[in-house]
């Protein structure tokens, strides 16, 4: 009996979070939503998810700090997908340097996101 895989989503856009939660829970994942980086770190430490989705620009703690915390403080190898907006290419490179696994630039297709998640969680 396979356990339900947990995904932490750090995204301050409430309607986007809701949409992704709806879509990913339909695919059989359990979604834990954080509205800022600080909350995301708390959820990651508590639930040890199988995947992390994080936006870059967030209140309190940014996506880059989340990645750094996961890789350097918690020493986890959890796959991390970063969402970036246009014009943030340099930040995406920084995210990869810190240990991000993949990125998707906004606006993105939720369908494509699901394909990437499935591939990472094989």
């Amino acid at each position: 009996m396979s356990t339900i895989k947990k995904i932490v989503l750090a995204e301050d856009n409430s309607v986007l979070s809701l949409l992704l939660k709806f879509r990913l829970e339909k695919e059989g994942y359990k979604l834990l939503i954080a509205v800022n980086g600080k909350q995301a770190i708390e959820l990651i430490e508590e639930y040890n998810p199988e995947l992390i989705l994080t936006d870059i620009m967030m209140p309190f703690v940014s996506g880059l700090e989340v990645i750094s915390h996961v890789r350097n403080k918690l020493n986890l190898q959890t796959p991390i997908i970063v969402f970036s907006s246009a014009g943030q290419e340099e930040i995406v490179i920084k995210a990869f340097d810190l240990g991000a696994t993949d990125f998707m630039s906004k606006p993105f297709s939720p369908h494509e996101l699901v394909i990437r998640i499935k591939r990472l969680l094989l």
């Binding site: 856009n13 809701l18 014009g87 993105f108 494509e112």
Partner: protein, 358 residues
Amino acid sequence: MNDNLHIFESLKHYPLTIQFVWALSCLFFIFIILLTIYLKYLRSHLRVNEKKEAKYQEVYESHLVTYLYAGNDNEVFSSEQQVIINELKKDVADPFKRKIIISTLLKLRSEISGEIGESIDKLYIKLGLLRYSLAKLRNKKWDVIATGIRELTQFKIKAVHKMVLNNINHPKREVRKEMQLYLVHLYGFNGLEFLNVLETPLSEWDQIQLLEILQLNNDTQVADIKPWLNSSNDSIVIFALKLAKVYNQFEAKEELITLLNHNSEDVRINVISALSHLHLFEATTILKNNFSERSEEEQIAFLKMMENVYEASDKPFLLEHVHHKNSEIRLSIMEILKNINFEEYTLYDDDIKKILTA
């Protein structure tokens, strides 16, 4: 009461100025009290509205997500979608709720592409929100017009571009900017046709934004920039030069070289930069011939160009200007001379130091 009367009585004996100051102070005091009461009322009213807005936002977000995933494989709206559409249509008539519905749609539309993005666009039209956006274009207030155009851009409404184009020379810069972004977002390079009729200046920031959108569009059909290089609007010429650089418009070589004699120094400097980027070094002969007649900024731009394309035959020209009064120009010349592998370079070490520190 008697004390108050006594105060008023004693005031009457004071000079007029003192009486006037007292009266003014009392008036201000009453005004402050009334203002405080009004501000308290306004604050509680705004807080109530905020709570209402948050509540409606939650409801509409939930409706939107349910709507997006309640669709079926064919083009027709499912029954579940139709229920949501009918419910939202009732609320669209209320300006307060309509504003929240539009902001909810926009909040998601800017983050999502693909089929779901197109579904949001269809929902926007199905709810009749297009009518309200078009009405904004006819409003007298410039910020309302700009908001209307932005909504049409974000929901990718192409059919109304003629109405949007009416604002091409709107007195307000913000409206013109939104119109330009609308055209380029939806039509790519074809949208740049507004440059043919634009009379107002295109600011540096506007140019940067337009270039960014064009690059995101990945439109391979680059427009013909030659007419814009001959524009009487200098900012359009400069924008066309940027396009020439970014999209490697070698076909415009003759026009670019002609622009070396443009009236505007800004244009001439941008042309030199474009020629350098495109490696069109036929212009170096022209620029060398009238180097002294050009401004220092142009001379600096030309020398930057020469740093990529020097030849040994440039030595006499460089030596002629090595004692230029501008230190940046002197430094550039020395750099080029050094790169030419000017074998006598080291023999002139002392002279070079004098030149650089002159």
